[in-house]
Amino acid sequence: MHREAIKSPPTSFEPRPHMSHRRQNICFYAIKRLVMAVPVIIGLTIIVFFIMALIPGDPATAILGSYATPENVAKLNEQLGLDKPLWEQYATWVGNMLNGDFGRSYNLNRAVIDEVLERFSATIILAGTALVLCSIFGLLAGIVSAVNQYGFVDKSVTLVVLVGISTPAFWLGLLLILLFGVQLKWLPVSGMYEIYGGGDLPDLLKHLILPASTLALVATGVIARLTRASMLDVLRQDYIRTARAKGVSDRRVIFKHAFKAALVSVIPVIGIQAGFVLGGAVYVETVFQWPGIGRMLVTAIATRDILLVQGGVLVVATCYVFFNLLADVFQNLVDPRIS
């Protein structure tokens, strides 16, 4: 396709109706999914709002902590409009958020949105790396183990998968710290950068290896397991026999024909795993002192910094919605039948 495009003279406007049609379809689908995400995000805000509204006792006291002065409590009550009906409170709250006002963290004396976004970028680096790692290794392990079904590789992959999905991430993190940080002294075990003189990309990557691998392990297991199953399913289909009857080599049958078909059922699961990775970041960030949003949430919950929790949860959940959206669009890219 590519070569043809280069060959054809630039003056010829040969229409390629279907190709552009397909591209158009994908764009249309992406926009459709984007529109469909709006009610989901509204739903998220409703749930978060009402969970927070469930806080027993006086919300202002809960937000300010039990040592707050009565004046502060009264002022906050007025600020939050807590005397108004719930739906009006909700509308004001959403309106403020649309203006980028998530409230103020009284413990940190900082706007919630600033703190959340700063922490969130650290989490995205960690979770994104983990997601890439688990997709690559999960898919590879799944394919290899399906191709060598019941062979040695298959059995070892099955074992690793079993161990992977049963291992608490926080425990694995500690073991890795013990091995690579304390015993072998190969890798740094906490933070995102060296405190003195760090800050460049290699420094970040070095700090990223252990936490990202820890975070990726569980998801790798799940993806490998599913890839194996769907590869085995696909390889029994008639169109694989057709490909073989055409004289296509075994390698091409596996990596092109079967893999593409297997991807259709694996991609949504990778989307779901994004949620587990984002959530699992809470543990890994705590173990490795990673300055991400998970650790911020844990601290905020312990200090009962409700507005910070609210903002953090909303941002991560919205991000998850977009991960799933992305997975859907990818799936559409692979499978033209979905619309």
Binding site: M1, L178, L232, R236, F276, V282, I301
Partner: protein, 616 residues
């Protein structure tokens, strides 16, 4: 079915399920480990253990196996073994309670939602979707944030977060049961909805609840431990495994045993539950069982007797001699094809007819070792093509013959064309597997092929995916693909069966013209005598995996020797349209196939049919 009988049956089923479970070695291992851990934690108060809360600062951070402490002591000098046993008890109790809670709530929502349907269903499921839109642990964190840290609150949080899994799974099954007759019968008999839910629906969705429970319970124990690890679950002095790990984390360098050992116990618990859960799932839901899915290899396995390579050049382009193909499933061996001989001359069209399951397709697929394997296995035979034995050549040679010199056209082009590649792409691939030409040249050839099989607007259709084409169009693509590399032999395996009659006629006309034009030899498999009459020079009749009759088409059609085949005069209805035939003779026997006696009788009759000399 009476109630008594059904309860007896379900009891039997339960026993057999348990037996099956015991056969799964990994599941048994999980069961044993889990049972040991549960027993230990239940017996905690009777075991000779130190008080888990007695502090002794003089004895702090002792290494394992020192000073009467098997697993050492923690930072307050408390005996670690004792704390782990008691902590395990707390962890298990909390995890299991959370699971039961989630299962109860989730299943209730699922059953009600699935059974009532309509607006209730919509509302409940949208709510569940919203909960699932949150990253798993995050929602638990939000709930703990509201309720405040504490073991009970962690329990609630984990339970709520897991409700959606149960609700969705259970709803799915309930919906499928709702339309079944026994529910209708119960409704007609005047039972009220609650009673129906409890007595008719619940017993049927129970396996799904058990499967979901067995696959999520390990996860829930892990997550409760996780919340405690973060300091949001068990609060001191209360301790579960997670909080012990969390406290010990700060001492990871000086006293690693304080945190690693509780982690190890969590790992053991979760792994044993997962093993057991997988076992339960495989037993209750055999579709997912590992052994049920087997990957077919590049070529059919062979187990051929050694024999001298006696490959004489003959007039025939393809000869099959005493081909025997079997299917091996578990201990059962099914002989699909036994000692089949056939010869194909250059330019000839050979028809192969027979009822379903008579071994026509397996014979055809065996020619290029395309029988799915496992379970297929070719156990005897010789297939000569171009003075080579196709059963004994290496994979590379086989690959070049497949689609290059011998090509296939398959029955249902919707399932036999790859759904995710455009038609043009699949044709290009067929061409480029055998001809060293560039992609764009191959695309040109592909378009030519599409025009050759009379597909209008070929440039546009080449970009289409199989699902966008009609059945007739797809089969034309199938034919184009077979012709792609100018093969010498085409094996068409019921190419018109999936098409309606008018399209069938068109496709046949096309096939006939192309075969004549390109001087291709054709093996045409069908159960349709009308088609054979139109197309084939010679015909062989197969029955029960063997060739029972062969000869020139009009001779065989006009004076059938074999009793399984009716004469052509009454085979085709007067309208003249080709129709599928029902065999006359074996019907009376086929009705009895369930009975062992009939099977042996049928075998005897077959033997007799074959060993009487029918040859002309």
């Amino acid at each position: 079915m009476t109630n008594e009988a059904s309860s007896k049956q379900s009891k039997n089923r339960r026993i057999s399920v348990f037996k099956l479970l015991l056969r799964n070695r990994l599941a048994v291992f999980g069961l044993v480990v889990l049972a040991a851990i549960v027993t230990l934690s239940l017996l905690a108060s009777w075991l000779p253990l130190a008080n888990p809360d007695t502090t002794d600062l003089a004895q702090r951070l002792k290494k394992p196996l020192t000073g009467g402490h098997w697993l050492g002591t923690d930072h307050l000098g408390r005996d670690l073994l004792s704390r782990i046993v008691w902590g395990t008890r707390v962890s298990l109790a909390v995890g299991i309670t959370a699971s039961v809670f989630a299962a109860l709530m989730g299943s209730t929502i699922g059953i009600v939602s699935g059974y009532l349907g309509g607006r209730t269903d919509n509302l409940l499921m949208r709510g569940i979707d919203m909960l699932m839109a949150f990253p798993y642990i995050l929602l638990a964190l939000a709930i703990v944030a509201v309720l405040g840290p504490g073991l009970m609150n962690a329990l609630y949080a984990i339970a709520i977060v897991n409700i959606p899994f149960f609700a969705r799974n259970v709803r799915g099954v309930t919906v499928s049961f709702k339309r079944r007759e026994f529910i209708d019968a119960a409704q007609l008999s005047g039972k009220n909805n609650i009673l129906i839910l409890l007595t008719e629906v619940l017993p049927n969705v129970l396996p799904v609840i058990v499967i979901t429970l067995s696959t999520t319970i390990g996860w829930m124990i892990l997550e409760t431990a996780g919340l405690s690890f973060l300091g949001l679950g068990a609060q001191p002095p209360q301790a579960d495994l997670g909080s012990m790990l969390g406290e010990g984390r700060k001492l990871i360098i000086t006293a690693p045993h304080v945190s690693t050992i509780p982690g190890c116990v969590i790992f053991l618990i979760v792994m044993s539950i997962n093993l057991l859960g997988d076992g339960i799932r495989d037993t209750l839901d055999p579709r997912l069982k590992a052994g049920a899915l087997q990957r077919p290899a590049f070529r059919t396995q062979t187990d051929l007797p050694k024999r001298s390579a006696n490959l004489s050049t003959t007039r025939e382009i393809l000869t099959v001699e005493s081909l025997s193909t079997e299917f091996h499933t578990g201990t059962r061996v099914l002989k699909a094809v036994s000692t089949v001989d056939l010869q194909l001359c250059p330019g000839e069209c050979l028809g192969v007819v027979g009822e379903s399951g008579s071994g026509k397709s397996v014979t055809a697929l065996s020619v290029l070792s395309l029988v799915a394997s496992p379970p297929g296995k070719i156990v005897d035979g010789k297939i000569t093509f171009d003075s080579r034995d196709l059963l004994r050549i290496n994979n590379q040679e086989l690959r070049t013959i497949r689609g290059g010199r011998i090509a296939y056209i398959f029955q249902d082009p919707l399932s036999t064309l790859h759904p995710l590649f455009s038609v043009g792409n699949q044709l290009v691939e067929a061409i480029r597997s055998h001809q060293m030409i560039s992609r764009s040249d191959a695309l040109g050839l592909a378009l030519e092929l599409l025009k050759k099989v009379q597909i209008p607007n070929a440039e546009m259709r080449a970009q289409a995916y199989p699902f966008q084409l009609s059945g007739g169009m797809r089969q034309r693509v199938g034919i184009a693909m077979a012709l792609a590399n100018n093969p010498e032999v085409i094996i068409a395996d019921e190419p018109t069966t999936a098409l309606d009659v008018t399209v069938q006629a068109e496709v046949l006309r096309l096939l006939k013209a192309l075969v004549g034009e390109n001087n291709v030899s054709l093996i045409f498999i069908t159960h349709d005598f009308g088609v054979i009459g139109q197309l084939c020079d010679r015909v062989i009749v197969m029955y029960a995996g063997q060739v029972v009759e062969q000869g020139k088409t009009n001779e065989v059609l006009q004076s059938p020797l074999h009793p399984t085949r009716p004469s052509s005069s009454n085979a085709c209805p007067s309208s003249g349209t080709p129709t599928k035939l029902g065999w006359r003779f074996p019907v009376c026997l086929r009705r009895l196939t369930t009975c062992q006696l009939a099977v042996s009788l049928r075998r005897a009759v077959t033997w007799w049919l074959i060993n009487v000399n029918w040859d002309r």
